[in-house]
């Protein structure tokens, strides 16, 4: 029997959960699916040692409350007509929808620099996720680096799990950070949050205008021992066991692209284009949260609610639209503050790996005018991540954008791809 939902929500982060709740409130038959075994997305990710915040607990509870159907550990593989092909670790099936809400969130922007592929170097968000999963961190010396508010959140989590955070290296200039802080009164909630983080991070140096230039291996050559940083005080070496580095977030666009949603520029990257009701360019597809451009958790909640209502055919209250405007303005201020400086784009040298899956260096791409030509000649982007990491990095470095999406959206069993759609 074909499964059919009035509203099918992809992604169980703050945006998707809000969408599910809003749509279910209108009496729609709703399902939420997520590749992860637990709901919460990135910000509300389950922590094995610490209880969730009240907001997270409520958001997750309300977004999964029956009759909403919660499809955990379910990944979208492909699409056809009004249905998505999904797989769990055990099985595959087709899910039909009346309307679809894309709440696929964001991922970290990882940029190549000498040594970034050493064991011990991880993304800032990935480090946070590892900590929450119970990865042993007690006594580990960690440098947190890159850009954006995620660094503070990651450092807080790492510290709460026993790591010694040596320093937070933020590439944005200290002056830009001060200007941003001075404007925070417009978003009192954020001001409060910033104050709280500051307390939790008391004693951890927060260095503006500072970048990690290289990760240095121990004598055996294969484990991280130190990082070389450059900042207002010149260059320096910091001993550490782990480097958590991320240059901000970019929207997850694979499903939107596969479906053929119109996109808009998000810096050097792309975001789903939506109208006031979070409606994409496709008739039955809505999008909310980071997929539409990085906006943070408050923005995701509001957009999720709007998308859920709209997808259920209900009117959207003007108050919600106003609040979205306010939240998006905060996001824009964040982006201005943490805009990447040219120095960051120049960290990789010709022999730095850019495609980790296929061992392609930056220098090997010289002379190629577009991603397709580079890919066909060097295999860059042909590996397991299908250009998710190197494609985003190359776009950010101003080499070439990476577009187009082919099934499967992530490596998927051949038996899944051959899974027949039940006659409906």
């Amino acid at each position: 029997m074909a499964e059919r939902y009035d509203v099918l929500v992809v992604g169980a982060g703050p945006a998707g959960l809000a969408a599910a709740q809003a749509a279910a409130g209108q009496g729609a038959r709703v399902a939420v699916l997520d590749a992860q075994p637990r709901a919460g997305g990135q910000v509300w990710r389950h922590d094995v040692r610490h209880a969730p915040s009240a907001a997270a607990a409520r958001g997750i509870h309300d977004g999964l409350k029956p009759p909403i159907e919660w499809l955990a550990g379910t990944s979208v593989v492909a699409a056809q007509g009004d249905a998505l092909l999904v797989q769990t670790p055990q099985a595959a099936r087709w899910l039909h929808y009346g309307n679809l809400v894309l709440a696929t969130g964001a991922r970290e922007l990882l940029l190549p620099f000498p040594g970034w592929t050493l064991p011990g170097v991880v993304g800032a968000g990935a480090a946070q996720a590892l900590a929450k999963q119970g990865w042993p961190l007690a006594g580990k010396r960690v440098v947190v680096a890159g850009s954006g508010p995620l660094l503070l959140a990651a450092a807080t989590t790492l510290r709460a799990h026993g790591a010694h955070v040596v320093a937070i290296c933020e590439q944005a200039e200290a002056s830009a950070l001060r200007g941003f802080a001075a404007g925070l009164w417009r978003w009192p909630g954020k001001l409060l949050q910033a104050g709280r983080l500051r307390l939790q991070l008391a004693g951890v140096p927060y260095r503006g205008g500072t970048v990690v230039q290289r990760a240095l291996p121990a004598a055996d050559g294969c484990l991280l021992r130190a990082v070389g940083i450059a900042g207002p005080r010149g260059t320096e070496r910091l001993a550490c066991d782990m480097l958590a580095v991320g240059y901000g977030l970019i929207p997850n666009m694979e499903l939107a692209r596969l479906l053929g949603c119109a996109t808009q520029a998000f810096g050097a990257h792309a975001a789903v284009q939506v109208d006031a009701r979070q409606h994409t360019s496709l008739d039955h597809v809505y999008a909310a949260g980071e997929a539409c451009g990085i906006g943070g958790v408050d923005c995701a909640r509001i957009e999720g609610a709007i998308a859920g209502l709209a997808a259920a055919g209900a009117a959207v209250p003007a108050g919600l639209l106003r609040r979205r405007g306010h939240a998006r303005a905060f996001a824009a201020a964040l982006r201005r503050t943490f805009a990447l400086r040219p120095q960051v784009h120049a960290l990789a040298s010709a022999d730095t790996l850019v495609c980790r899956c296929e061992d392609v260096t930056l220098g090997m791409l010289d002379g190629h005018a577009d991603f397709r030509s580079a890919k066909l000649a060097t295999r860059c982007g042909m590996g397991a991540c299908q250009g998710r990491i190197c494609g985003a990095a190359l776009a950010e470095l101003g080499r070439f954008p990476h577009a187009g999406s082919r099934p499967p959206l992530f490596p998927a069993r051949l038996s899944t791809l051959a899974h027949a759609e039940p006659a409906s």
Binding site: Q80, A377, R406, P407, P408, P411, A412, L414, S415
Partner: protein
């Protein structure tokens, strides 16, 4: 002929091979290609160098080309691998067809061996049980087509050929006009694959869509390019759509899975899930272990298909200065090198190494006029 101008339109593997040969013969070559070199059908192809025996003319051209491929076997980016072709017979009826195939291959000098059921499983232990046997063609190989096309263009450029990033708009009385507004004068060779009709509407050309799937790395699972004996029926039959078991071990340890065929003159690149399912189900029947493997990517490509399935290689009927090399369907990687030699010999009015008549575009003059 040294110094004569030759304008090659299209830098797929066919245009690239022709440009390389022409520059070696001393032509003043200009290549016109708006996209990535080798970015058309060439970028989608499996790159199986195969001697198909069902049409004598194609077999002659393939055999001729396979010999020429030896010169590129050591080129690293060609990723040349002499894995051979293992043809699988599902039952006794298919197995009964093997001796005739062996004979046809032997007639042109290609060595092949009959394989009984026991030998079949020694060659490919992962094959499904109860297959009847088959045939092994040890000298068949696989290459990575797009990189070869790029290499051939670089060879031509090293001899002075120019690569113009433009699109040909139409043939003129003595050359070709480009979208960018320029007109080039000289002998023109049209090698635009599926897009042939834009420049030569009198030569029928259809696009035959194919799906391919590439997996993660599973080294050792498969050693030969392995096809069902029914492949030729799928490839050269005229059914609207068909699938056949056709899998290839990549040098990376990945498995490349084909093949499907359907006419699609609109050339919609989207993956069709129903077609993909049909193709995969067919491949599971022969290689059940595929079911549990992870796929990385599915893509589609379009085989340029002439009215009788054979490429057009030669002078365009009724045009003094225009030549054509297009319509290689599913064999264009294999036959590109032979095509280039066959064309250059005709252009230089030399005797050809194999009979050129079956590929003469004029064979269709009657059909087209009628």
């Amino acid at each position: 002929m040294s110094g004569d101008v030759l304008i090659v339109v299209g830098a797929g593997i066919v245009g690239a091979a022709c440009a390389e040969r022409a520059s070696a013969e001393g032509f003043d070559v200009t290549l016109v290609e708006p996209g990535t070199v080798g970015g058309g059908a060439t970028a989608a192809a499996m790159g199986h160098l195969i001697a198909m025996d069902d049409d004598p003319a194609e077999l002659a051209l393939s055999h001729y080309s396979l010999g020429l491929w030896n010169s590129l076997a050591d080129l690293p980016q060609a990723q040349f691998s002499r894995c051979g072709t293992l043809w699988v017979a599902a039952d006794e009826r298919e197995l009964a067809g093997v001796p005739a195939k062996l004979e046809r291959l032997a007639a042109v000098g290609i060595h092949a061996e009959a394989v009984d059921s026991a030998a079949l499983y020694q060659l490919e232990p992962a094959l499904a049980p109860r297959l009847a046997g088959g045939m092994l063609v040890p000298r068949d190989a696989v290459v990575y087509g797009p990189a070869v096309a790029m290499h051939l263009v670089e060879c031509a450029q090293a001899r002075g050929a120019r690569l113009l990033r433009d699109r040909a708009l139409r043939l003129t009385r003595d050359g070709v006009e480009l979208h960018g507004g320029r007109t080039l004068r000289g002998t023109v060779l049209v090698a635009t694959g599926c897009a042939l009709r834009e420049l030569l509407p009198a030569l029928p050309m259809r696009a035959r869509k194919g799906h391919l799937v590439i997996t993660q790395r599973y080294p050792g699972l498969l050693r030969h390019q392995t096809l069902e004996l029914g492949y030729a029926d799928s490839a050269h039959g005229s059914d609207d759509s068909s699938v056949a078991f056709n899998v290839q071990p990549r040098p990376t340890g990945q498995i490349l899975i084909g093949s499907s065929r359907e006419f699609d003159d609109a050339m919609d690149p989207a993956v069709s899930m129903p077609m993909l399912r049909r193709m995969l189900e067919r491949s599971f029947r022969y290689l059940p272990a595929l079911r549990g493997l992870d796929a990385l990517r599915v893509w589609t490509g379009f085989r340029p298909t002439s009215i009788d399935g054979r490429p057009y290689i030669g002078r365009v009927p009724g045009m003094e200065h225009a030549w054509v090399a297009a319509g290689h369907e599913g064999l264009g990687i294999t036959t590109a090198l032979g095509t280039a030699c066959l064309l250059l010999d005709q252009l230089l009015q030399r005797p050809t190494a194999i009979d050129a008549a079956p590929f003469d575009p004029a064979r269709l003059a009657a059909t087209v006029a009628a």
